[in-house]
Symmetry: C2
Subunit: 298 residues, 2 copies
Amino acid sequence: MSHLEVRDLRYFVAVAEDLNFTRAARRLNLAQPALSRAIRQLEDRLGVTLLERTTRAVALTPAGAVFLADARAALAAVRVAETRVAAAAAPTRPLRVVVKPGSDGALLRAVHAAYAGFPPPEVSVVGCGEQAQRLRAGDADVAFLRRPVDDDAEFEFEDLLTEPRVAALPADHRLAARVRLVRADLDGEPIARWAAGDATSLRHTLGLDGTTRPLPTGPEAADLSQLLELVALTRAVAFVPASTAVHTPRPDIAYRPVDGLLPSTVSLAYPVGTKNPAVAAYVRAAWSVVDDRAALLA
Amino acid sequence: MSHLEVRDLRYFVAVAEDLNFTRAARRLNLAQPALSRAIRQLEDRLGVTLLERTTRAVALTPAGAVFLADARAALAAVRVAETRVAAAAAPTRPLRVVVKPGSDGALLRAVHAAYAGFPPPEVSVVGCGEQAQRLRAGDADVAFLRRPVDDDAEFEFEDLLTEPRVAALPADHRLAARVRLVRADLDGEPIARWAAGDATSLRHTLGLDGTTRPLPTGPEAADLSQLLELVALTRAVAFVPASTAVHTPRPDIAYRPVDGLLPSTVSLAYPVGTKNPAVAAYVRAAWSVVDDRAALLA
DNA sequence: GTGGCTCATGCCGCCAGGGTATCGGTGCCA
DNA sequence: TGGCACCGATACCCTGGCGGCATGAGCCAC
């Protein structure tokens, strides 16, 4: 009879929250069978059935409801321990955070709320793809960015959340009439892209990372509003994360899912070997937001 | 930057409590290097130095002191979660516990104190070596016993604590003049043993488990007081756990350490496949006592 | 009945975490 | 002052737990 671990609590709370193993597993960044086994092992250790499951529905048992409340309390206590020790040892200058234009402000605010107890971070906005340079130059402590970036070696990444990409089209584009597209539909269309980053992002979106296959041509933009302007003005197609599409609706732009596009990952990056407890606390704050988000995404 | 786990907290609290890696590791049933690494990794994850260590002394840093308090609180919260869920799901009859004569009453009381919230267990005392039979017959739910027992296959064991064995000799025995003995000193001496258990315990004590080597001869006793009587009356030698020696001092008996005796382990046993949450809770109560015991042994 | 959704199971591979052996530093004592 | 005992750190290896993939099995909807 082994020891109860924080992982067990996190897993159980996730399943108990949305009463669906598959979705909870996705939220926890693991496969459904792993989660099923983890919960079963937890029940075995406790000797208690926490969840009543049929193949169609999952429900909390009375004991499970009791455990859910206590598990949340225990997780909170652990989080307090993490946070307070960092605050006790880190009376340094405020953390310097870089983001790119058009980032999700709600996410940032939520992270900073969870980071309470530390001096408020200084946020600076830099051009797309320039976050890494700021970190490298020592002008920033952590950066929000979308992977991949060119130099994976010198940074550590916390992959906070992953979401599909969609195509942004002029609202009156012929393809906008379709509800769902496939890659081949876009052959020959001009593809708008980010100016910085050596088209790394576009290569990755199209799954051409290792290859030398030619990229489609198209105009370049420095930030999201420019990119969408280009789509509207030049009748190009652009790829944006699904959440961006939700946050930036425009009547002249249509967003359509495309089969075969690789998803986009929002990550937090910091230089390898970082020893600043404030950074560690910031990372944990970000994770706590991501873990708790019931419906930050679909 | 991985997640903080309950294990990390337990390890840190153990070291912070006696400020000595080697002793803390022994208490945690692991080797000192493993503990050193675990603490270092914890510090790396938090980005904070928790302990100031020289080769001669270990001291808490201010941050470490803060973390110690919070870590204890978090561990308590986890323990509450474990306990309450079991209590919620186990409104069964009281747990039936069997012990043998001469068991450590202080340990038993401490476990039952930690088991608060459940109906008080019914304790029954049976002859040495008969605990397993009670479990097998379904007359008991859990048993305190000393390993090994004959049938390791049908029970699960929680090895709570391990202690050296010592030899009990008549106080005026020629060997009692020596402060420390070796195995060969006992050649030819009669060895008193437990009546039950097929001399399993004696074989194990002498490290003859797999072999067919002949056992020394000697008288048999049913419980501890009988055993010590035999030692005094027949001038035999008996092997008892060190704590037993401490708990049962007699002017006519001398206890002497013997090099090469295998140590004795106090275990909690229950049938394999036990699903009773009360049993799980009882096991955890026992572990919490063992974990907390600052000076239950040397 | 059939297809899709969901949880369970079998099997495999990896690495975090533990063990052993050893080193290096430090205070104590002869 | 040299030897020794103690203690934490480091190097290296190895195992078991945990996660991934593929697949099975039950259940509802249409």
